[in-house]
């Protein structure tokens, strides 16, 4: 009888505490579920981006006055996060105050500069641009539109992304305010 009691006592005294084991088990289950969730491929929000930088490749300090016939030097930043490789095209066009693209419509004028590049997912490129504006005018909009090649329709589609920069184009030696 005494021996049986001792055996029961021995059973109760566990090497690994039940509660400690339950906590460890919970940690392992949560870690594994989290890891599996990370492993399953998900569709990320696809997007492309365009940015206009100054001659030095920095944001801000853009030229405000441009001399007609002389080159304006800028840089264009293009980035692809579509989840696949994309063929992107940047077109520089000239607009005016109130005549710039929107998210849905592009500027209906001929491009003065055109650049096509293929970017892998997560890749970006900064392209130097040199534009020469020949006609004088105030508040001339230098517009950079981003287009993407659509493989289903085999045509270029406007992404709705654009940048614009207003400049005053003057004759040599004449500077408007």
């Amino acid at each position: 009888m005494g021996c049986e009691e001792k055996e029961r006592e021995g059973e109760e005294e566990m090497i690994l505490d039940d509660e400690v084991f339950a906590v460890l088990m919970a940690v392992v289950v949560v870690a594994c579920v989290f890891s599996i969730a990370q492993m399953i491929p998900r569709n990320v929000e696809p997007f492309v981006a365009i940015g206009t930088l100054n001659e030095e490749g920095k944001l801000g300090d853009y030229p405000r006055v441009v001399v007609a016939g002389e080159p304006v030097r800028l840089q264009v930043f293009i980035s692809n996060h579509e989840g696949k490789a994309s063929m992107l095209r940047v077109m520089a066009k000239l607009g005016s105050k109130g005549n710039i693209p929107t998210n849905a419509t592009f500027l209906n004028s001929s491009p003065i500069w055109d650049y096509i590049v293929v970017l892998d997912h997560g890749e970006n490129v900064t392209v130097p641009v040199s534009l020469t504006l020949n006609e004088e005018g105030s508040d001339v909009a230098i517009v950079f539109e981003l287009w993407e090649f659509n493989t289903s329709s085999r045509s270029w589609v406007y992404t709705g992304r654009w940048n614009h920069l207003y400049v005053n184009v003057t004759r040599q030696g004449v500077v408007h305010g």
């Binding site: 392992v28 491929p41 490789a85 063929m87 004028s109 045509s155």
Partner: protein
Amino acid sequence: MGLRYLLPFLLIMLVQPLLQVNAQPEKVEEAFIILESLSREGMNVSEPIRLLNSALALYRANKTEEAEKLLKQALGRLRELEDELPSYKFWRDLKLYSSIAVMAFIPIAFYYFFPRVYAFSWYKTRRKWVVRRRRGREKKK
């Protein structure tokens, strides 16, 4: 009379930007269509992208012959990758599903093995211990 000429002229002016947008070497399109489908599947397409960008740079510089050579090279590489696609997809899926299976098995394995491994190591670290009857227990008896 004036309107008869003005209308087509205006139409051409309107359509011209769109025509320019579609103007580009057909082979570049062909290469990119293959490249995009491969990249969508997660294949490494950095080499064909580099070749295609070099070809585009040569087209910009009006070096058409050299550009076409590179384009041909890119197309060749893309076709090779296209042939490898079924086997790539098979191994990619196998790797993914087996990793998930291994991850899902870890809690079960932990539940089964951990107490045993712990007990084993517990005994092993105490194997030189000498067991002595405690006096208090003896009294209880």
